[in-house]
Subunit: 409 residues, 2 copies
């Protein structure tokens, strides 16, 4: 039943074991095998806009298409290392001396070109070498300054395109879903391990750090994003940061966090109750739980019917209608969900401004309605749903119970 | 003496204490007091290019000019939240519902405007409201797609500019240098605390995680960037990631890491020796140490002479000449240093492609020559130098000893 109490607090052993070296080797193989198909899908888009080459700079796209990996935030210091050109027959990955060896290992099917701050100076040579005349450029990621310099360097015409690789990445292979599932399990175990540590007087920051430590030592490569741990009125800030104020009895305690396994991310929100919940918080919790259940049920019904899936806008509406009906429409300011994979937020988008196109399949997205009462309290419940119409599958990759869980005493 | 053995391994108590709440309160005040001056410096640039407004999207710039803070990597999910317009009299900060409360608290002198995915739809209204006719746009950060949409939205003309705020941020106030120094001390203490844990058979990943934990629980808000811990031949990858291979006796062990304190970052590299060093590694170490000392001595001489400082190119040459003279020119592929502050890499740049302009003052930059022998070994030594010509100051903010330090037995 939605919004019931959880009768037994979960422990780490209730969730899947961390990934093994054999899992990781299998995923590496899967990526190597999938990469030519990914390139073929990209090249299949060339004719429609009359281009012969693609130029990209986003680090997730580079990893997806070439195998070259930058750590989170590393693109701030890597210059043009990892930027790539994909022609009709060949892939070029730029790498300065710091990244040369790594790029050769990881992007073993690509030609690695030494490029420093001087991509515009080398542009004509690279473009001519790959036989490019009209180049599709990832306009949502390439800065206007870089665009201007490359256009001025000449040789090939630049054609702005957006969303190509994003659309391809929204459709997930089994090996991708496995990794997201593995990241979810690491996160589930970590939150379960944290439960006995939660008590009145602990601080958000302490708990966030302990949770992170569990994730980082529990099979993840890292966090998907900084842990949000927000108590009481702070939970009304959907993207707040953990603070040093001791947690009080009777407050909600919201965790929004995720793990990263082999580059793939998880994302889950649980709102717990530290000591006996107030009637207000319970009422809000039940509305959010019902909103989430309503959206999930809508997806399940579509899959049972053999498709098509509802649109991201329609799924958003299913959750939002419940919240609006209960008078909290203005307290739910964000979208209902987002795709996830190599990036924490990727396509598909589920929200008021999403398209009316059916959601893609197979895919994975979050379902995360929330209600935020300024200065009082906030509740959000977030799960990741793996959906495959053809296989008749709708499965929550996040497994931590989401009933009312009272902790801290 | 350069390249001598360190006779006593340092302990955490050899370095400054972590920052106190009083320090943090003082820094918050300093930022509030400095912000109008920062805005005035920006506006003083308007006349030369005939603009009346500035539009920026970089999160460090937003923090610097408006006070609005995004966590590391948060700009990947924050959409246009934090993007800002600075007109002749007014500042606008965009924030969607997730960031509204936070933006109101942090950017208390700005007008907070609710903007979702629809900045281009609201552009004319915002631009007219702030009285903008010609807007300087941060062309190195704004994507070409955003540029095109805002230009098409009309009303004001867009003028691409680059490097304005970067140049201002290169010059550091005392309160900024204090925070970088505090971050350095947290990092120094953390490495000192790690020394007894280093032994043959430990893995790079274990040591990196322990070091990170010390930093995160030792007074930092977070890491400046992911810890690099690289042993033996892996140290030849200047931006490698820690792996699971056990460390062998006789290998170098390179740590490149930094802490973040109140948004300001540190960056230090130390190359230690696990067990008795080889003659090859010692020889390489001494060359790198001499190269670093040569660059630092050049800066000190200029400050003693009352300025001007050498250029970033000249300081790079001072270090590089030593390495080239010893026959390792091709094994030192990166620049000698970079400025640091709210970003890990910022102006000034010290390298082969740096300008011939004298370095700014007061400022802070890294001096970090290295030698990398593919498949064999790598050595880098990196310190942060605070330099103030007027005050006659050249001071290493990183204090961890940099003689030959043998650990792990």
């Amino acid at each position: 039943m939605i919004g019931e109490r959880v009768d037994r607090a979960p422990g780490p052993a209730d969730f899947a074991e961390p990934p093994t070296p054999a899992d990781r080797a299998r995923w590496l193989d899967a990526d190597r095998i999938d990469r030519p198909e990914r390139l073929a899908r990209l090249r299949a888009r060339f004719a429609a806009v009359g281009v012969d080459t693609y130029f990209g700079t986003r680090s997730e796209h580079s990893r997806y298409l070439t195998g070259f990996v930058l750590g989170d935030g590393e693109d701030r210091v890597s210059g043009s290392s990892g930027w790539f050109l994909i022609g009709a027959d060949e892939t070029i990955v730029c790498a300065d001396s710091r990244y040369r060896i790594q790029a050769g290992r990881q992007a073993s099917d690509a030609r690695i070109e030494p490029v420093y701050g001087d991509l515009d100076a080398r542009w004509v040579e690279l473009v001519d070498g790959i036989g490019a005349r009209r180049i599709a450029v990832e306009a949502g990621a390439v800065s206007h300054a870089t665009w201007t310099r490359l256009a001025a360097a000449g040789s090939a015409e630049l054609v702005p395109v957006e969303g190509w690789i994003e659309a391809d990445r929204a459709i997930k292979t089994a090996a991708e879903l496995e990794r997201i599932g593995a990241a979810c399990a690491v996160a589930d175990r970590a939150l379960a391990a944290l439960l006995p540590e939660i008590r009145v007087g602990a601080t958000e920051r302490e708990l966030a750090l302990r949770l992170e430590w569990s994730i980082r030592t529990g099979g993840a490569d890292g966090l998907a994003f900084d842990v949000a741990c927000l108590a009481g009125p702070e939970a009304a800030l959907p993207h707040g940061s953990p603070g040093d104020r001791p947690i009080l009895a009777g407050e909600v305690l919201l965790f929004d966090f995720g793990a990263k396994v082999d580059g793939y991310r998880s994302d889950m929100t649980r709102t717990l109750f530290v000591g006996e919940p107030s009637a207000r918080d319970l009422a809000v919790y039940r509305i959010v739980a019902e909103a989430q259940a309503s959206a999930i049920a809508g997806v399940e019904a579509a899959v049972r019917a053999g498709g098509p899936l509802p649109s991201g806008r329609a799924v958003d509406r299913m959750a939002r209608d419940v919240i609006v009906r209960e008078g909290h429409g203005e307290h739910f300011g964000h979208g209902t969900g987002h795709g996830i994979g190599l990036a924490t937020h990727e396509l598909p988008h589920l929200g008021l401004r999403a398209t009316d196109e059916p959601l893609p399949s197979p895919t994975v997205f979050s379902v995360e309605p929330g209600i935020y009462l300024d200065g009082q309290t906030g509740v959000r419940i977030e799960d990741l749903l793996a959906v495959d119409v053809e296989a008749g599958r709708v499965e929550s990759l996040t497994r931590f119970p989401k009933g009312i869980l009272v902790v801290g005493f």
